[in-house]
């Protein structure tokens, strides 16, 4: 945070009466000169009011944009909505030849968002499963046991990790992570967990839910860990000292004093990370395999709500296909708004009492 410092020089043009606090008529003379000067530079009621309203309008633009996006999505998805209704999100069709369930068939006009909902949920869940323990570990390390010297650089690295564009994560995943999963991780997982049916070896590409989950985990880790760190640092020092004074070890102190006090904020941080994972598009679209199917195996190809839009929107030929894609977008919009609102409220509830807040 930059320190606020205002120099006399900045005030000079506004106050053209240097040392003009003299007694008697000199003062009144000066005052009138100030008034004349100010009047000549637009000191009038309408200028003030105009500026006020300009700022209000700009602030209301933000309202307008969100409303515009929402109405546009609703209007453009009318066609799919009137044709499928709520069944859009949980029905499926049956392929007349193979008798297998058929979810998404643009050629014959069959649309159901079910596989994309499933794909989004599974990949986000896997991402959270991987990222949350790591992120909390990093946050504990940074707030409780990291030497002062390392703290700055580590925070900087976290910030950088958050600033890398998702398409670069995707490029990295395609060239390094996918071969790694294909040759090492997936066969190993099949050998260990194949009996549960959660992993299978019928997908030789190395793409799939798990790969997407791993890359999502890398992307949401910095968000969760930096927010968790923020929440943890609001736990008062006296709490920690009290627990330590009762004879707790360092780990007990962290568990009892820090984690328990900060748990609501940590949940908020996790949900905020979930919000990012749900809407993440490019990296996921590059590694998830893009097939509109539901598989029990986490190594199978799939598709998420965001990735199907990215892949098919520019090729959508007929109105119904496009309308169905926009309806998926609308669903994504609504879900992320809800998730973000819950997360914001939780984080806000915790940091409200913090001294950093100036309200």
């Amino acid at each position: 945070m930059p320190e606020i410092h205002i120099s006399q020089a900045q005030l000079q043009p506004e106050a053209p009466s240097p040392g003009g606090q003299g007694p008697g008529n000199r003062a009144s003379n000066e005052v009138s000169r100030v008034r004349v000067h100010l009047l000549s530079r637009g000191n009038s009621a309408w200028a003030d009011r105009g500026f006020h309203w300009l700022m209000v309008i700009c602030a209301l633009t933000i309202f307008g944009i969100v409303a515009l996006i929402a109405t546009e999505l609703v209007l453009r998805s009318q066609l799919a909505w009137s044709k499928f209704g709520f069944k859009f999100f949980f029905s499926h069709f049956t392929n007349p030849d193979t008798k297998l369930p058929l979810y998404w068939d643009p050629v014959n006009g069959h649309f159901s968002a079910l596989p994309f909902l499933y794909g989004t949920l599974v990949s986000s869940f896997l991402a959270l499963l991987i990222a949350v323990p790591l992120a909390i570990g990093v946050a504990i390390f940074l707030t409780e046991m990291c030497p002062q010297l390392l703290r700055g650089p580590l925070a900087f690295v976290t910030e950088l990790l958050a600033a890398i564009p998702s398409v670069i994560y995707g490029l990295w995943a395609v060239t390094i992570l996918v071969p790694l999963m294909r040759e090492q991780v997936n066969p190993l997982l099949f050998k260990l967990l194949g009996w549960t049916g959660l992993t299978s070896d019928d997908n030789p590409t190395g793409l799939g839910f798990l790969t997407a989950g791993v890359i999502l985990a890398v992307m949401i880790l910095p968000i969760i860990s930096s927010l968790t760190r923020e929440v943890m640092s609001t736990v008062p020092h006296s709490q920690r000292e009290a627990v330590l004074a009762l004879g707790a070890t360092r780990w007990e102190m962290i568990r009892i004093a820090v984690l328990r006090n900060a748990r609501i904020g940590i949940v908020g941080a996790i949900i905020l990370g979930l919000g990012r994972a749900l809407g993440e598009t490019m990296a996921v679209a590059m590694v998830i395999g893009n097939s509109p199917e539901i598989h029990r195996s986490i190594l199978a190809n799939g598709s998420t709500m965001a990735s199907v839009i990215a892949n098919e929107f520019s090729e959508a030929s007929d109105e119904l296909h496009m309308s169905a894609l926009i309806e998926i977008g609308l669903a994504l919009f609504v879900v992320t708004i809800i998730v973000n609102a819950i997360a914001r409220m939780l984080v806000w509830a915790v940091t409200r009492g913090a001294p950093a807040q100036t309200r």
């Binding site: 945070m1 930059p2 320190e3 606020i4 410092h5 120099s7 900045q10 005030l11 043009p13 506004e14 008034r35 100010l38 637009g42 009038s44 500026f51 006020h52 300009l54 700022m55 209000v56 700009c58 602030a59 633009t61 933000i62 944009i65 969100v66 996006i69 992120a135 690295v157 910030e159 950088l160 990790l161 600033a163 564009p165 398409v167 670069i168 995707g170 490029l171 990295w172 390094i176 860990s225 919000g275 809407g279 993440e280 598009t281 490019m282 590059m286 839009i309 990215a310 929107f313 894609l325 926009i326 977008g329 994504l332 919009f333 992320t336 998730v339 973000n340 609102a341 914001r344 100036t358």
Partner: protein, 259 residues
Amino acid sequence: MIAPLVAIFVYLIYKGAVSLNLDFFTRNPVPVGELGGGMANAIVGSAILLGVGSLIGVPVGISGGIFLAEFGRGSRLATAIRFTADVLNGVPSIVMGIAIYSLIVVPQKHFSALSGGVALGIMMIPTVCRTTEEMLLMVPHAVREAALALGVPNWRSVLAITVKTASPGIITGCMLAFARVAGETAPLIFTAFGNSNWTVNPNEAMAALPLQIYVYALSPYDEWHKLAWAGSLVLIVLIVAAVSLVRYVTSRGVLKGAS
């Protein structure tokens, strides 16, 4: 947790540096099979898109922040706007893409850099707005009162005193928003669309660095993969430079009190 970052970075620099040369900056993409070629059009395209985005995002964002901090403090409208800005911040970029597609591209009947710039600009607004608000709230009241006591009209006091005092922080917010949207791909797929030719006309489809990386990364050609890595290196150097500059400026206080 630093392992993935280091892995990405080392690989990126290695791969990028190998395939980066002068052609990359000066030539347009060439068809598959031909050697060489670069991303000159994508670099210029990215610059134009970001320029349009900043023109929209920065003024609206800063004005919104001024309203939140100076005029609407504690009012119900301000709370609602603050919440809406947070919502806008969480809207997935792909949803922004389809919204702008149906708002601008469909009526215009063709893809254009303008629509891509609008999408990026809208994505910048919440970040700029919230940082501006936070920075303005840190300006002490005494400064505002001093200005008003001198008979300075309120709008001049806000612009010339409060905003100027908080300017380093506001610039930081703008840079962060800029770095964030510089790498966005999803909202550009259906708006700027990409273009393999040279163009500076904002009313045409235009190439952008992240878009080009996306297209090249998914292609099966080695030559194109190399170009994608080079493009990533350029993009990441740009973003890291912006973020580090922001950090340096805010921590060293180079701009502290300067105007």
